[in-house]
Structures are given as structure tokens and as C-alpha cells.
Symmetry: C2
Subunit: 187 residues, 2 copies
DNA sequence: GCGCCCATGTAACTAGTTACATGATTCA
DNA sequence: TGAATCATGTAACTAGTTACATGGGCGC
């Protein structure tokens, strides 16, 4: 089974909401779906050109005076069909990788304080995510509450919130356990 | 900042527990840490040779009669130092990607029944994982309970369990919400 | 004047996947 | 007899990352 290029579909998905430039697509990923998707220019721009060649998007160059030129892409009917076809397909299992867990698993000879630092860092990161989620939730409810997509968007957000909360809880309890061990040894 | 090769450290980690062949390392990944790490031969074997060239592991060829030859690798002192150095380093943020969420996010024109199927599939997968976790937990507690690593291994397992449970809960509640919507429309 | 935002892209690289190739042993 | 497990590896490919290159506008 050949690996299918997900970036193609992520781009088609973003353009299915509204036309935009490569820059806009990247921005959308970073602002709205960053908690489960990411794209970078080095991959985005070439794939965008390829989609154009395949007839799934069209490009129109906009030149506003005193501003950098914009290549605005729109999804075509063929592009919508292709996206629809892919959305209907079952989800391919994607191997999850966690460097934190890898490090913990082999950390017998690492000072517990170092592990605790890593877990505290994780709590910081995840807490920051929780604040982002609150802001996104407001945005969806206030600005896009009427849209038929709103429920789906809130569902994906709910996933992010649950995972993030669970990660924070695990980190805190694991820190607790590590401290217990430490004091046991220390006495 | 250059991207560091995680496979190198995963291999060093596995060999830090005990010497083994490429096949053994792959097996360990698939059996014991598959819920947060994966390796495949196409990457594993070349990296193993590279580690040998760098003096971080040594190779000894075993030829048992009537069996395929085995290249058994052992970690060197230099390898242990390199592993230790890396384990102490802070965790690099790794972008999380979810095809399921990507599909849900853009699923306005997809029948709800198709989404529900995907969520049910997810519940199946995660439930199967939960059973694997139970088996691994038994193994750690019964066979490796005395090892100093046991607590760390149980901590990583605990992470897996929490995430998996949260994913199942989310899937079930999301199915519920989708069905509600459906019946509302239906009337 | 400095830094951030807008805006496009390429080149070089690396990590990782899949498919191919081979072949013995063991167990049902 | 056929499937699974043991066992090693290469070749071709693709996806994705990072660094480089360029440059105007805007606000503090």
C-alpha cells in the first residue's frame, strides 16, 4: 500500500473553506488547527504547484501596489471531489511517537530531578495549549456559531482539551511519584 | 538548529538494557514500546551500521548451525555516555498530527454515518490497545517488578492508558453528539 | 532604527517507509 | 503443505525540515 500524501488533502481542506495564498494556508494551520496539524513552506509551496498542475486548484496572481504579490489559490470542482473521496476513506493508523516517553523509559541512570524538570516543562507547554483552546473556543462560538461546521470544529477542539488535560494530570501525578521515591531513598 | 536523529538514541536505549541483533531491537520496539515508539528495518539496519562506525556499539557475528547468522550488537562505554548526554537534554517539541481530526474538521459534506464509523473504528483500535496495556502491566509487575526501571516503565504505561481512555471517552461522547444532531435534523 | 508581519520560493538534506530479495526452521 | 518466525539487508522513494534568499510596509 503506497503512502498517501496528507499535505495535499490538508491544503484542499483549507481551500475548501475559502480561497487563499500559500501564506494564508500556513497561517490557518498555525492559528486554527495547529493542535493536530502542521505545515511548513518548504513542503507547502511545491505541493500547491503540484495541485495546480493536477487541476485540483487554480491560481490567480494578485498584484496590489506597494505590497508583495500574492498567488491566490481556489479549489476546483475536481479538487472538491478528490477531497470528498479522501474524507470518506477510513483513517490510516499513524504511529504515535513520544520523545518524552522514550527518555523516561530509558532513564534509570538519570537523576530524578532532571526527569521532574522535563515533566514540569511538559505541564508548562500543555497549560499554554489549554489557554489557546479557550481562545479558539470563544472564537468558534462567537464568530462561527451559526456555521454548520461549528459542531465539528468544537468536537476536534474537545479532543485537544481532553488529551491536554490528561497529559497535565499524568505529569503532575508522575512528579508526585518520583518525589516519593526520592524521599524514600533519601531517608 | 539541526534535527537530531531519534532512531540512534532509541537503538542505544534498547541496547543499554541488553545486547541484541537488529531483529531483536525491532522486536523489542514492537512488543514493549510500540505505544510510543516504532522502528522499521529499512532505517534500523543502516543506522545500526553507522553507530558501529561511530564506535557507539560493537558488532559480533554469531553463526549457529542450521540457523540464520545473527549480528549481535552491544553498546560501548562511549555509546552509554552519548545516550546519557541525550537523555539529560530537554525534550524537543514534536508536532502532533491526527488524520482523524483533520478529516473531522473538514467533514461538513460527509454523511454523519461515515464519521460515526470512523469513531467506532477508533474505539475498536483503542480498546485493543487497552488490552495490550493490561498484558504489559502484568509482565512488568510479575517479571520485572524488582528492576529499578520498573517504576519508569509503569509511568510510561500509565501515560498510554490515560491517553487511550480519554480517546475512547471522547469518541463515545462525540458519537452521541453526532447522533443527536442527526435525529434533530431527521424530525 | 529595529523588529515584526506580509509574501514567495528554492536547495540541500534527513528521516522514514515500502518493496524487493533470500532462505532456513518450526509448528499445525 | 503452508504459514509464522527467525534473520539480514538494499534500493527506490517520499515526506518533511531547515536554511537560505529577497524585499517592502508598518508601528513603536
Amino acid at each position: 500500500m503506497p503512502k498517501i500524501n496528507k499535505t495535499r488533502y490538508a491544503i484542499l481542506g483549507v481551500l475548501s473553506l475559502k480561497p487563499g495564498s500559500g501564506y494564508d494556508i500556513k497561517k490557518f494551520c498555525d492559528d486554527s488547527i495547529f493542535y493536530f496539524w502542521n505545515e511548513n513552506y518548504g513542503h507547502l509551496y511545491p505541493v500547491l504547484r503540484q495541485l495546480e498542475k493536477d487541476g485540483l486548484v487554480t491560481r490567480s496572481s494578485e498584484q496590489t501596489e506597494g505590497k508583495p504579490p500574492r498567488n491566490v489559490y481556489s479549489i476546483t470542482d475536481q479538487g472538491r471531489e478528490e477531497l470528498h473521496r479522501w474524507l470518506m476513506l477510513p483513517v490510516e493508523p499513524y504511529p504515535f511517537r513520544s520523545e518524552l516517553l522514550l527518555k523516561m523509559f530509558f532513564a534509570v541512570n538519570i537523576p530524578r530531578s532532571n526527569l521532574i524538570e522535563k515533566l514540569e516543562q511538559k505541564i508548562q507547554n500543555e497549560s499554554s495549549l489549554m489557554r489557546d483552546f479557550a481562545a479558539i473556543e470563544d472564537l468558534i462560538k462567537n464568530r462561527f456559531g451559526g456555521r454548520p461546521e461549528a459542531d465539528l470544529w468544537l468536537a476536534t477542539l474537545d479532543y485537544g482539551k481532553r488529551m491536554t488535560l490528561a497529559a497535565i494530570e499524568w505529569s503532575e501525578e508522575t512528579i508526585g511519584k518520583l518525589r516519593e521515591e526520592k524521599t524514600k531513598e533519601g531517608d
